[in-house]
């Protein structure tokens, strides 16, 4: 059986090679040791807790002492009255947010990078970065002020064009726009930082050569700056796709009202209402929904990553 023998030798060879490569790289593994220990302790050790999803957990009996519940909580969620609405609302909101707000920080970073007046670029950066630190409560409060049908600025503006006052916050058709664009406005500057850092890797010689060749500013932006950002952008996109079933819970909750609940109820707010605001906290139910979400997120992440590896030549692993 020559083939088997061949195989064996090949395996042996590569094992030797592998062993050698591992030994040769021992310093790299040594560097990884600390982060991996951290990962083991603070990320993997608590992970046994997912079995809460399969139990009727209560805090006094503990994780091991609580009785098994099987798939009860998953079934309850999937069969619940709101299930499809929740999925739909969450996915809509997240995808909209992704499509609308993902390119913005990139554009902002490219523009800031092109601007030649340093003071202008730096001031703009500082100003656009600041709203990240205004708490969500205040941002939502400001939205209410600005859109108030009686005293709000937006209604005065549309009033000039002869449109009657409307209650924008109570218009369920407007909820997603308000949520997404106020979010863009709040986080765009902060999100651009990562791209600004990535742009520092562009060698100035490339620009000089392109200028000599007579390339316009926009062409240089497109052909020199943008490619420097792409690897980071692709990675961020993959990670965002993995979070498709989660959206900013606190802001959605604050923006909810009786009139927009049909589009504004998302998985996170629902889990909060049932899990925490219940007369007995429903840990098992909340964990089950979280697990459900994680599994879907992981599947999408793997898909997105495969796709990116094939077409954009970058990959998470």
């Amino acid at each position: 059986m020559p083939s088997a023998a061949h195989k064996r030798t090949r395996v042996a060879k590569s094992r030797v090679g592998l062993g050698l490569r591992i030994r040769r790289n021992w310093q790299l593994y040594a560097m990884l040791a600390l982060p991996l220990i951290w990962l083991a302790i603070f990320a993997y050790w608590p992970m046994y807790g997912v079995i809460i999803a399969f139990k009727d957990y209560n805090v006094v009996s503990g994780i091991w002492g609580s009785p098994w519940a099987g798939m009860k909580y998953f079934e309850r969620f999937v069969e619940s009255y709101q299930f499809w609405r929740l999925i739909k609302n969450t996915v809509y909101l997240h995808v909209y947010e992704l499509v609308a707000t993902f390119p913005l920080p990139i554009i902002l970073a490219l523009c800031l990078n092109t601007v030649r007046k340093k003071w202008f670029s730096r001031t703009t950066q500082l100003i656009t970065y600041a709203p990240h630190f205004i708490s969500t409560v205040v941002v939502v409060g400001l939205l209410v002020v600005l859109t108030s049908p009686n005293t709000g600025v937006t209604n005065k503006l549309i009033g000039l064009f002869g449109f009657g006052p409307t209650d924008v916050m109570g218009d369920s058709g407007m909820f997603r726009h308000l949520y997404v664009w106020s979010g863009a406005w709040q986080t765009m500057g902060f999100a651009a930082i990562i791209y600004l850092a990535a742009l520092t890797s562009v060698p100035p010689e490339l620009h000089e050569a392109a200028i000599v060749d007579g390339a316009s500013r926009l062409r240089r932006m497109w052909h020199i700056d943008l490619p420097a950002i792409v690897p980071v952008a692709v990675i961020l996109l993959i990670l965002d796709i993995g979070r498709i079933l989660s959206v900013g819970f606190e802001k959605v909750l604050l923006m909810q009202n009786s009139l927009n609940l049909d589009v504004a109820e998302v998985i996170d707010t629902y889990v909060y209402k049932i899990g925490l605001a219940s007369s007995v906290p429903q840990f098992s139910y909340a964990t089950a929904i979280g697990l459900f979400r994680s599994v879907i997120g992981l599947v999408l992440l793997v898909l997105a990553n495969t796709f990116a590896r094939r077409f954009a030549k970058s990959s998470l692993w």
Binding site: V60, S80, S148, S258, L259, A277
Partner: protein, 583 residues
Amino acid sequence: MPNDHVRPGVSRRSLIAGALGLTAATAGGGLLSACSGKSSATGAAAGAGEAAPSVTLGPKLATVQYPDGYVGPVARALKPITTEKTTYKIVVKQDVTIGDWKTNAFTKWLESKTNIHIEWSQIGGTDDDVMTKVNAMIAAGDIPDAFLGIAFTRSQLFLYGAQGLFTDINQYIDGYALNLQQAMKDYPDTRKLIQAPDKKIYSFPGINDCYHCRASDGRAWLNTEWIKQVGLAMPQTTDEFHEVLRAFKKADLAGNGKTIPFAGYKDSAIDPFFMNPFLYNPGEPWLVVRDGKVDVAFDKDEWREGLKFVNSLYKDGLINRDVFTADEDQLKRYGNASGKPLIGGARTNYWGSFLDIDQKDPDARWRQYEACPPLKGPNGVQYAAWDYTGVGVEVAHLVITKKCAKPEQLVQWADAQYELEAILRGYGGPAFAWAKKGELGINGKQALYGFDATWNSQKNINWSQDNPMYRSQDFRLGERVNPKDMTFEKPLYEQTRDKYFPHKQPQEMQFPPVTLDQDQAAQEAELRTNLKGEVNQSFAKFLTGQLDPNDDGAWNDYKGRVEKIGVKPYLELQQAAYETYNG
């Protein structure tokens, strides 16, 4: 629990006690008199829990003027609970209105009186955050001797109590909690409201017979100046109400077309005010009891009539467009608008939710607004949704756990907080004074006590109502009225008494606070969340005309939706809990 029923018996006893003054301990009633002599002689006898199974109250303070027929906490000298200083570990919420639990004035005072030292663990954040942390602590077995002011629900108390985590204090009340015992006699419903389905009591209640709170969900306000200006009277019926609002709008009393005849905001439901002219509606979760059967209000034909009514108001532009979206800050901008207020009326618990209350100014804007009585509907229905059981007795102000080595000491420590002076210091601060003879209280009778006007601007002086207390109606209304600083308490009390109390629904119609077991709680949370979402959303849509209440199709669709969500299983669940409650 209107305490009219309990007044006669107790008042006589109190009256006698008040007259006797210093001679004290006999006032507690026959049960106590046997031990009274001994304890007042030794002063610190209570400490040895093992030796003397029960304790006695300290002598009454002589300087306190009790009004005639007074029912409520009594001022007594507090006695040390132990001779040696003993330390207990208690978990509380951190609260900027309290300051620092360790150095707080009331902490120090209580320690000096009881000789019990507390080691505090403070949890930060909102109430939800606190509950998350407390659950984690319990899960880790990281349990203190007691939890103070942590908002456990009745269901949680039962769940954890039945598992042996919380101590049943029922066994200690007779021997060690004489102030509480008295309070439970004054308010006979207390036991029923605080005991779990297994007849045990897992927490010290906070008794707070807040009279005006009982009508707060259905209270609304109208500007009397405006009513005068349009030449009408305070409305009594739905039609008159409609007419008044229409007149407000027509006269445009705010100017520039900015008038909002009636306003509401998103954090305070408006349906209790607008539905009660058509059927009894306590508000969310809209449960009512009819002949012992639990039912919901939101799928009845009368509810639909109410929807037609609010829809007609909205169509005429009489309710603010952002009634479901404005937050409290926004509502206050309408109410506080410089020059003139923009709003003619509002559906809020009290004035402070729609404008700033300036207590010192006798002509302040808030004084223009008066409570609008519950309206009479076209069929003569007129209810003020009166909260007999949800307000007044709150559970979980103090929970003693299995970790506590000597529960009887903490029971006494808790009981000390039901004493009159401790109550005043606990929620007000050291700046209280006993009322002099002839000074009048909120209810117009002899006042009991008064506060220095600045008490609530000082820091680190009280426990901000987190601890167990016994505040009876007579106690609350016994606060001296300071002509220079007219608080909102007096007008709020009087208007509630005159306008809402007469129209309260019979007590047996109200669905009481029930206790659910863990599995019921899980189902209930889900059904309630879904029903609440649907009913609130449809109410809003019917009101704003996105759905037409006059259209049979729209109404039947709505009824179909709530049916599908599960009104029936929801009611079955609540019916079972209700029957358990009634024992």
